[in-house]
């Protein structure tokens, strides 16, 4: 485990992103900063429109920040990549897994071939070695040769999400971003994938940026958590402290909204209107 003074695995400094629509400017992300060390896991929580997905997309270069710096092991990733080598370098720094594996896997390609394609692009492995590596990667996520030959449609939702994770891991990235990656899974399967992520983190020292609306899942996966509200980080603390003793009213609202015995939805609705008094509600 690296100490505070060591170079962070991922350093995000003062990210800003505005979108313009119908002549008005909307600040999707304003002033997001955090650091992540090797083997660490950081959660970003918030509701739709909070800017958490925009942050994720900026981390992997799908959106370009208006200002701010993203660097992995001291090398900056911000700005448009120039040329193939730069794009590949970035892909090896950060990978992402999205919520819906249906949309992120090619429906016509057997999943083994999809992973092999990534290896062909990023490694010098020759044919037989490459195929061995594909099986190794699939094995790491609990899948086998039989599934490698299947097109995504033939696999269950949980299996497809494992494939998406295996494919992201194929380039051996330093950081893995998971954008609501377990939200669509049934709970029994979700628990399998969560345990898998914990194991991979311990084995490889990969850093996780875990984006989710589910505070219980975040508590299980993340060491630290950021709470985002309308593009800003309103609270940032160790996950346990943040959930056991939240200080920002919005964090308290999110926490009280989680259903449990004695849950009072009417009180939450009132609290929500108070918090939303700061601006427009749904």
């Amino acid at each position: 485990m690296s100490s505070i003074s060591a170079e962070p695995l991922l350093q995000v400094t003062d990210l800003h992103k505005c979108y313009r629509s119908h002549g008005t400017e909307v600040a999707a992300v304003s002033g997001v900063s955090f650091r992540l060390d090797a083997g660490q896991s950081i959660g970003i929580v918030g509701e739709s429109g909070s800017g958490k997905s925009t942050t994720a997309r900026m981390l992997v270069g799908l959106e370009t920040p208006d200002s701010g710096v993203i660097s992995v092991q001291g090398r900056e990733l911000t700005g448009r990549p120039r040329g193939r080598a730069e794009r590949l370098r970035r892909a090896r720094a950060i990978q992402i897994v999205f919520q819906d594996p249906y949309l992120s896997l090619d429906p016509r390609l057997p999943v083994g071939a999809a992973i092999e394609g990534v290896l062909r692009l990023h490694t010098d492995l020759a044919g037989p070695d490459r195929r061995r590596r594909v099986l190794q990667l699939l094995e790491q996520v609990g899948l086998g040769e039989q599934q490698a030959a299947c097109v995504p449609r033939r696999l269950s939702g949980g299996q497809r999400q494992r494939v998406a994770i295996a494919r992201a891991l194929a380039v051996e990235p330093r950081v893995l971003v998971l954008d609501e990656a377990v939200s669509a899974l049934d709970v029994s399967v979700q628990a399998q994938v969560l345990n898998l992520l914990t194991d991979i983190r311990q084995e490889t020292g990969i850093g996780l940026v875990f984006i989710s609306h589910d505070l219980a899942v975040v508590r299980y996966v993340c060491d630290e958590t950021l709470v985002m509200y309308r593009g800003r980080v309103v609270e940032h603390d160790s996950t346990r402290r943040l959930l056991d003793d939240p200080t920002h009213p919005y964090t308290r609202l999110l926490l009280s909204a989680v259903p449990r015995p004695g849950w009072d939805p009417a009180a939450i609705a009132r609290l929500r209107r108070e918090v939303a008094g700061l601006g427009p509600a749904s």
Partner: protein
């Protein structure tokens, strides 16, 4: 007599699935009662709700009886079904954007079924629509009537769908994952609206969800389904405190909690039964830690009643899956 009674309902679709999609489903909902139906995808929850409305997929072979307020749904004619759907049973779906015609105004959506079913009085229907839009907490009912669905947020449109479901003054409300697509705080708002209207109007409510904590928080009784069968039913508090079926216990052990720490979750191993599998015994046996060779896989278990709860497991008398599942989950209360 219960408001809704399902007795031994089965549904097969030989062209699509080898196993029955619903098998021996017994379920009741009383007036004023909130009943949860939980389970994972493919367990038959939504199909059960659709069958209650008489909305069956083409090619379905159905058995058993479904009675709503004395009407036998499965043998009802077209006129009876229309009356059932327009004024006795309403459904709230998960995704209002998929369920509401994007080309029609909110006012048309709300009043259409009532105008068609009750012949004409447009003004009364509009007045009722305004009243309900107000009741679901929308800020400007008069303007909303003229608006199109794309002008409203997901949470607002879900309130429109709830208002629409109440237009015919139903006695039974079927809610199929009504808050799954919404943010948590919007979910709380929608649930509070549903709970208030349900209590005020004494509605029977069947609440379908995959979220065990949500079911536990709002339901009086809960049914747990697996692969088309009800595997356990009990009062919500008892079910979650002391699950008797290994599947219920497994679901609870796989669900992380927001106010407790888990060193490691205990997932249910394997994956749910596919449509092409039709094991002769208990459908959960291949994933079950308590399954016994030569017993569970051979013989289909019956739903055994004990007091006001019931469980479908041959071993439930000798095991207590709830207790052992909790022992498996190492929780440190730091």
């Amino acid at each position: 007599m219960s408001l809704l009674t399902l007795t031994d309902v089965s549904l097969r679709m030989p062209a699509l699935a080898r196993r029955p999609l619903l098998d021996a489903v017994d379920l009741t909902v009383d007036r004023g009662e909130v009943v949860g139906l939980v389970g994972e995808s493919g367990s038959g929850k939504s199909l059960t709700a659709r069958a209650i409305l008489g909305l069956l997929p083409p090619g379905a072979e159905v058995g058993g009886t479904i009675e709503v307020d004395g009407l036998d749904v499965l043998s009802a004619g077209r006129d009876d079904l229309r009356r059932l759907r327009s004024s006795q049973v309403s459904m709230v779906f998960q995704d209002p954007r998929a369920a509401i015609n994007p080309l029609r105004r909110i006012g048309d959506y709300l009043t259409e079924s009532v105008r068609l079913a009750r012949g004409g009085d447009g003004r009364a229907a509009t007045a009722r629509a305004l009243e309900l839009l107000e009741a679901v907490g929308l800020p400007d009912p008069v303007r909303h009537l003229r608006q199109f669905p794309h002008e409203l947020s997901g949470g607002m449109l879900q309130r429109v769908m709830i208002a629409g479901a109440l237009m015919g003054d139903p006695s039974l409300l079927l809610c199929d994952e009504p808050t799954t697509a919404l943010d948590v705080t919007t979910q709380a708002e929608i649930v509070s609206i549903l709970a208030r209207l349900q209590a005020e109007q004494g509605l029977g409510m069947l609440f379908i969800t995959h979220d065990l904590d949500l079911a536990g928080a709002i339901c009086d009784r809960v049914y747990v389904m697996y692969a088309g069968r009800v595997v356990e039913t009990a009062r919500a508090t008892e079910l979650f405190a002391d699950p008797r079926h290994p599947y219920t216990a497994g679901l609870l052990a796989s669900t992380p909690g927001v106010d407790r720490n888990h060193d490691r979750l205990v997932p249910v191993c394997g994956s749910p039964l596919s449509l092409l599998e039709n094991p002769p015994g208990c459908a959960f046996a291949p994933r079950c830690d308590f399954a016994v060779d030569g017993l569970c896989a051979n013989e289909p278990p019956a739903l055994v009643q004990e007091g006001d709860r019931a469980v479908r497991c041959l071993r439930s008398a000798e095991i207590s899956p709830g207790r052992s599942a909790r022992a498996h989950t190492v929780r440190s209360a730091r």
